[in-house]
């Protein structure tokens, strides 16, 4: 399923933060985790993740550090910061409100799917 651009943009922050909250990671692994979690429904354009990561880094929600991969290449690892965890909790609440509101209205009427 192709999600709208705005929805992808809005969900990127909580998704990335949540994945990093599971443990430090790097770009490719994050993309892979998103695909796995969504059962392949949520397909990001790979490159677009990096501007998002850089924005989170600028906002101080994640911290980045260069390390080496198993194959010995340089790789940039990302770690969630304390601020990032606060932000994640905050966003989680917001998404839960949206989610429960939508659920409420989905239940009220039988919408054709």
């Amino acid at each position: 399923m192709e999600l709208g651009k705005d929805l992808v943009a809005a969900s990127a922050t909580p998704l990335v933060l949540a994945i990093l909250a599971e443990g430090d990671s790097y770009g490719y692994a994050i993309i892979k985790r998103v695909t796995d979690l969504s059962g392949g429904h949520l397909q990001w354009t790979d490159g677009m993740l990096y501007p998002v990561l850089h924005r989170l880094e600028r906002q101080g929600l994640v911290a980045a550090k260069w390390g080496t991969s198993e194959s010995g290449r340089k790789r940039k690892y990302y770690r969630i910061t304390k601020g990032g965890r606060t932000q994640l909790a905050f966003q989680r609440e917001q998404w839960q409100v949206v989610d429960s509101t939508l659920r409420g209205i989905w239940m009220m009427k039988a919408y054709p799917t």
Binding site: Y26, G27, Y28, I31, T45, D46, G47, M48, Y50, P51, H54, R55, E57, R58, Q59, G60, A63, A64, S69, S71, R73, K74, R75, K76
Partner: protein, 454 residues
């Protein structure tokens, strides 16, 4: 690696070079993206694809490079700063937009130049009614400048109305008070009005989106560049005026009136508009100058302050509290805030702290110490002084700058110890901007009546 890795490496190299040509994508980003590409390819090869197939799919998944470059530019707008202004023309091709803009700028510059001569029609002469012109100087030129940005950014009508109202209010407060001749509050009003109105211009500059921090930082960059362009234009104008006078002198005709009444005032007004347009259009021609100047002068000012403190300690001579001493220290703080600000505006936020950051912190701390010494000296003798408008204004400004610097020092120190990101310093400076204008508004609106227009 397999045997066919060589042509594949060649392809990856080409892709990397193609990426590298984008200005918004820096070398570390290319490296990061390449790592991603290789991870993806490794995974696909493992699944049974050939190297070439894996490369093609990985590239495809990476997405359109133009779109990606735009995203990077959006996130790192400071990187694009150097090529702004050139792009639209190149895409447009016809150059029609550029010509329209030149025409608009020309008209607005003429409007600003004419505006300063309009009061003459009502009998207010430049020499004789200096106070009137001092109070209103910014009102002749900043409205046309705001119009330029409103036009360029396509501001919403409501925003334009608010900006117009702000200028109208400023005009009222500049002229409604019955100032005594040569009064201090009048001079203060003349000095502070431009600070308020510059914020109004800023709202137009950012296209009404004042709360987008990145745009606000762009406005700060713009202000610094405009100042430098203005000084350059003023130098040229000075030469032009001197040559004019010399030429007419040669045929024994006095041209002083031409210079004093027309060339200098009209030129000073028009130059603001033309300078702004140059900064907007030619950003890429001259590298950003303001940050370069900060790099040069931060070490010098740090040494100066150190030498000053050392001399004070060595000779034991206290700060001699005279009339201008508070203003001198205000100026010092303004300079230091400027240095911190423009260093921040040019900094790559992702770089770890380096020596220059340490130097900046040192400069801020020294400035704080020196200013604290000055304030102590002044506080000790405040009873002898009494409260005049000048002193209250200078003290207020000192306090505002002191708060800014103290907090900057704190944030800087945290950044140097790796406890916080550089963005926090930038955010603090940007968030503090309106404070200056609010204080200026306070001085313009309340000082004259409170101090009885003296």
């Amino acid at each position: 690696m397999t045997a066919d890795s060589s042509p594949l490496e060649e392809q990856i190299l080409q892709w990397r070079q193609y990426l590298r040509r984008r200005r918004a994508i820096h070398a570390p980003d290319v490296e990061e993206l390449e790592g991603h590409l290789r991870d993806q390819m490794a995974m696909l090869t493992e699944a049974g694809l050939s190297g070439d197939e894996a490369f093609l799919i990985a590239i495809k998944r990476m997405g359109n490079l133009d779109a990606l470059s735009r995203e990077f530019a959006h996130e790192h707008s400071e990187r694009l700063w150097k090529q702004l202004g050139m792009v639209p023309e190149a895409v447009d091709g016809s150059g029609k937009a550029t010509r329209t803009e030149t025409l608009v700028v020309f008209c607005l510059a003429v409007a600003a130049a004419v505006a300063i001569k309009v009061p003459v029609l009502f009998g207010l002469q430049l020499d004789g009614d200096e106070a009137f012109y001092a109070r209103n100087a910014s009102l002749f030129v900043l409205p046309p400048l705001a119009v330029y940005f409103a036009w360029k950014r396509g501001l919403a009508v409501m925003t334009c109305v608010w900006l117009g109202l702000a200028f109208a209010c400023a005009a009222v407060f500049a002229n409604v008070f019955p100032f005594a001749t040569r009064s201090d509050t009048e001079m203060l009003s003349a000095l502070h009005l431009p600070i308020i109105l510059w914020l109004v211009v800023g709202v137009a500059y950012v296209g009404g989106r004042w709360f987008a921090a990145e745009r606000r930082m762009d406005f700060v960059r713009f202000s610094g560049e405009l100042f430098i362009y203005y000084v350059l234009i003023a130098l040229g104008g000075g030469v032009f005026t001197a040559v004019t006078m010399m030429l007419f002198n040669a045929i024994d005709i006095k041209a002083d009136w031409l210079a004093g009444d027309w060339l200098i005032p009209c030129g000073a007004m028009g130059a603001v508009i033309v300078g702004s347009w140059l900064v907007e259009a030619k950003q890429s021609v001259i590298e950003n100058m303001a940050p370069v100047l900060t790099r040069l002068f931060t070490p010098l000012f740090t040494i100066l302050l150190l030498a000053f403190m050392a001399t004070m300690a060595w000779t034991g001579s206290p700060i001699n509290v005279k009339r201008e001493v508070l203003i001198a220290f205000d100026l010092l703080l303004v300079l230091v805030v400027g240095l911190v600000f423009y260093a921040a505006s040019a900094r790559d936020r992702q770089k770890p702290p380096d020596l220059f950051d340490g130097l900046q912190l040192l400069l801020v701390v020294f400035a704080l110490v020196v200013d604290a010494l000055a304030l102590l000296a002044i506080a000790a003798r405040i009873s002898e002084f009494g409260f005049t408008p000048n002193r209250v204004a200078a003290l207020g400004e000192n306090l505002i700058l002191l708060i800014n610097l103290a907090w900057s020092a704190w944030v800087y120190a945290r950044f140097l110890r790796g406890r916080s990101s550089f963005a926090n310093l930038e955010q603090w400076q940007i968030a503090y901007l309106p404070v200056y204008s609010v204080w200026a508004m306070f001085v313009v609106v309340f000082f004259p009546p409170v101090f009885g227009y003296r």
